[in-house]
């Protein structure tokens, strides 16, 4: 990851930690070491200090070697594409759609569609291969989960 991306992420973690520390303080304030908010405050306090240390280091690294950063605009797009490639975004979208479809279509149809579409997306085609893998996966899941493990499927 580039130095700018490291810096941005470290800053986000620090901001999130401070927000959580504020929320933790709101649980019971400084009521005592055995209060409900003590351990949450300690944990988020450590998070805040640690993320501040990470941010400070990221700033120092960036100051030492900032020359190799690409120009804004095209550079930012390229960095985002490296962090969030289209395959990842597609897979995440399919994941969310799959979970939403579970209650509407049922487990096996939703799983068949998810596995098939995911393999087609990642392989850039090969729908028959994808469908065959999906059928084999469903057969394996039925055998493993409904008979061997006896778990409740979504």
């Amino acid at each position: 990851m580039t130095r700018t991306a490291d810096l941005v992420f470290a800053a986000l973690m620090l901001a999130a930690s401070l927000l959580l520390l504020y929320r933790a303080y709101g649980i019971s304030g400084l009521a005592g070491w055995d209060a409900a908010g003590t351990v949450p405050m300690l944990a988020t306090g450590v998070m805040s200090l640690a993320s501040a240390a990470v941010l400070a280091r990221a700033l120092a690294v960036r100051r030492r070697g900032a020359a190799q950063e690409t120009t804004p605009g095209g550079g930012v797009r390229a960095r985002l594409a490296g962090l969030l490639p289209p395959d990842l975004l597609g897979l995440t979208a399919l994941f969310v759609a799959y979970v939403a479809a579970l209650s509407r279509l049922g487990f096996y149809p939703a799983t068949f569609l998810f596995v098939t579409l995911t393999i087609v997306l990642l392989e850039r085609g090969r729908p028959i291969f994808a469908a065959a893998v999906a059928v084999a996966a469903i057969a394996g899941i039925y055998g493993a989960f409904e008979t061997f493990f006896q778990v409740r499927l979504p």
């Binding site: 649980i27 055995d34 908010g37 944990a43 240390a53 990470v54 990642l122």
Partner: protein
Amino acid sequence: MTGDMLGHFFMGWTDPALLGVCALGVFAGIFVGAIPGLSVTMAVSILISFTFAWDVNMALALMVGVFCGGVYGGSRAAILLNIPGAPSAVASAFDGYPLAQRGEAGQAIGLATVMSVLGGLTGVLVLALAAPALSQLALQFAQRDYMLLALIGLLLVASLSAGSTAKGLFAGALGVAIGTVGMDPMTAQHRFTFDNVYLLGGVHFVVAMIGFFGVAEALYQIHALRAPIVKQNVGKVIPGFSAVRRHTPLAMRASGIGAFIGMLPGAGGDIASLLAYGHARNSVKSPTRPFGEGAYEGVVAPEAANNAAVGGAFIPMLTLGIPGDAVTAVIIGALFIHGMQPGPLLLENSPHLFWFMVGNLVLANVFLLIFGLMGVRAFTRIVEIPRTVLLPLIIVLSIVGTYTINSNLYDVYLMLGFGVLGYFFKTFGYPVGPIILGVILGPLLERSLRRTVQSVRGDAGEFVLVFVTNPISLVLATAFVVMALAQTPLAPALRRGLGALARRWRR
């Protein structure tokens, strides 16, 4: 008593169902460990929920098998592809891959298998001898001592993780914070619920585990999707007796290192294998080849150590309820789910469970030897499975595993959230292991802290006094303070000061 002990030790060996499940676990573990991108922790996290309906012995037999098989299986991809299948196999690639490049992959795998079994059995022996003794000692531990052990475990895992200590501490503290979500068990106050009714019940640790270890890894593997799959030819595997005899002394020393490191809360096979590799480099004067160019000693030492660490990791897990590494953190969760409470009373109240696990670990190592030496071609094919097929299957398994906990789809969405967060953590070099240790150790830490404070009625002076007047607490508190200071910029100054003191003392 001895008859009962032996009966429980051999229970897994004589019951066909338990025998079969252990074998299945080892086979599946080698499969999972051999594939870069799948981790043993991921597999065991998902398996926990699948084995809800099972008897506790069956569930443990499967998970122990997967653990042992997975730690060993990581060496396959390390030797064949120079891509460790598990973190504990990193050191095995240093000399294993050069051996494969010379056409000696079979010999490397064969020797790795035998030495893994030797290390594994050594670790189990240490477990069988040390755990009962430590369990007796642990009966004298007070709540404050458990608090210190939890802090030491979190600090160790943070400082020993890949990436900076600050990132490790952040991850550990995040895990503790996640463990506090929901209603406070003592006062019922809402903590980090953000006015969401669903979060009142807290975050189930299995949801966090599957999210951070399963989904996050699957998402991260997107970056390696187009990596070419290298086909390997593996020849003769079963090592000669002279090779085994030559390398056994090193394997035994490495096993000792592995078992000791595995015992440390928060440290596991990855640290053990690297330390053992370093020991081999320093102690072996005439290796088969220079280290880094295909020395068999460079495979023997880490493989013996990482499997010995498995037995070592079970020691604090069973006797103190403190995980030795991420996988034993997951196994602690499995024991909770089945109504068991790991800790010093486990050996008092349920010695049958302890001896059953010891027997099962030995059995798992026997299956490791069989599958490792006989199943080479099958496992070589395994590393050739395309990631485009693996990723959707991992996600389906993760969803099923998560849904099984509470039959609630909100858990699945939360798991996805953890998975996305875990992806960013991996991308930016934050370790994920400390998060899970934090989730498991956080409640123990909080419970111990609050009980200690209540026992001294909130008196700050008395709170400090109890840590210095009790010998066990004093040792643990000193260890924690020293370890904490070692992570700060004061460490070099402290070392110089202590060195000067030591020199003055010697005069």
